[in-house]
Amino acid sequence: MTKADVTIVDYGVGNLLSVQRAFENCGATVEITSNPEIIMESNRLVLPGVGAFPKAMKALENLNLIKVIFDYGQSNKPLLAICLGMQLLMDTSNEFGLSTGLGLISGKVIAIPKVSVVGETLKIPNIGWKNLLYSDNTNSISESILKNLEYVSSVYFVHSFMVQTSNPDHQLAHISYGGNIITAVIKKGKITGCQFHPEKSGTVGLQILKNFAGQ
């Protein structure tokens, strides 16, 4: 059997069907698996996820997937981590107490600020479409999943926690929520994470997935 273009990690968390269908809409073949060997050998790996951080890490642990995803991440092959999946790339999260993440990109996961920069109460979770704002290192955009997008592109977020990378260069794009900067896309080598849901972000999201499938 030929290898699928995109392999999605199934660890019982997240709407895998939507991610699969969005990639298929982009013309990519998709395999969904929790088999460590298939994951390690895959061409492009997607780590999806919704829900709570500790529960997701526990699910990966129970399936013996923590080491293989870490090793895959070190192997210089494309990895896309979506929403909670992106948060799992970090060292730690303080959602429901401090827990350890995959540590593929140095940084932490913390709660979204509850007030705006002018002191207004913010709704939590942050749900809705926000415009991507490009962080400083614009040169790398053309080599990332954000290439070929309109300058103003809205994508769909739903989250209560956010990522802070230790190295600011690892942040590729952000959004403003009540004036607070919230990380939207991170990148280190061939590892990319996005806080939003590309599979739920209309044509912009499909372009992003197409970009990933072409990496």
Partner: protein
């Protein structure tokens, strides 16, 4: 700048898209998947599918509609109606939905709220509240698609739901639903003033201007529109354009 999500609401009976007034007198509109695709193409921010009789008859045909919709539609989909157990939620999510909206089963079994939030995350759980003003001028929670009274006060009920993990509230005014008289801003603002999760205002949008008070005065984070769209009295595109010109932060298409 106040942000606003524009959501198309599709009420379903069996395999049909339907529309009622005060959630009653249901009239068949057409094939829900055709309408869903149209609203996606027009730039809807989300879709809500509400199975209107599922809770009454215990049916769950809606999974097939969602499976079909999620083949070509790449925006968030919320499904409500007849969801009673964790297994029901799992089935609906596996069909392609992103969130479930729960009303009757949560009232009958309030533990279901924290169970769903714990199992699938708060982002997945929309509490659907059907509110009707009672003789004491309070809003009362109705269940079974507006057919049955509960004696529960809307304000204390939404607080309970949010404390137990609901990530969003879909607030339907029975008194306004299908009447085209505008949103019930008193109700919406009573709820947005008491909780800190996003509130979707539903019921009564009769003209595009109706969105201004429900956002500016009542603090709604999203509006759910059915009648205006189904009867082709406007398009999502026109609504978004108007919202943008009115100074709201809306999705760029």
């Amino acid at each position: 700048m106040k942000s606003l999500r524009i959501i198309a609401r599709l009420d379903i009976k069996g395999s049909n898209l339907i529309k009622g007034i005060h959630l009653e007198g249901l009239r068949v509109i057409g094939n829900p998947n055709e309408y869903a695709l149209r609203y996606y193409a027009q730039g809807a921010d989300e879709l809500i599918f509400m199975d209107c009789v599922a809770s009454l008859y215990g049916r769950n045909q809606i999974a097939n509609i969602i499976k079909e919709a999620s083949k070509n539609i790449f925006i968030p989909i919320t499904v409500g109606g007849g969801i009673r157990t964790i297994e029901n939620v799992r089935e609906i999510l596996r069909s392609g939905a992103d969130k479930v909206a729960v009303n009757t089963a949560a009232v009958k079994n309030p533990k279901l709220i924290s169970q769903i939030a714990h199992e699938f995350g708060s982002q997945c759980l929309v509490i659907s509240v059907e509110a009707k003003k009672n003789s004491l001028q309070n809003w009362e929670v109705l269940i079974e698609n507006g057919r049955e009274r509960t004696g529960l006060d809307v304000i204390s009920w939404v607080n309970f739901c949010v404390e137990n993990g609901a990530g969003e509230v879909l607030l339907t005014s029975i008194d306004r639903e299908g009447t085209r008289k505008g949103f019930e801003t008193d109700l919406i603002s009573a709820v947005t003033n008491t909780i800190n999760v996003p509130v979707i205002a539903s019921g009564g949008m009769g003209k595009i201007d109706d969105l201004i008070p429900v956002v500016n005065l009542a603090g709604a984070d999203a509006i759910a529109i059915a009648d205006m769209l189904h009867y082709n009295r406007t398009t999502i595109f026109e609504i978004r354009d108007f919202a943008k010109k009115s100074g709201f932060d809306v999705r760029e298409l």
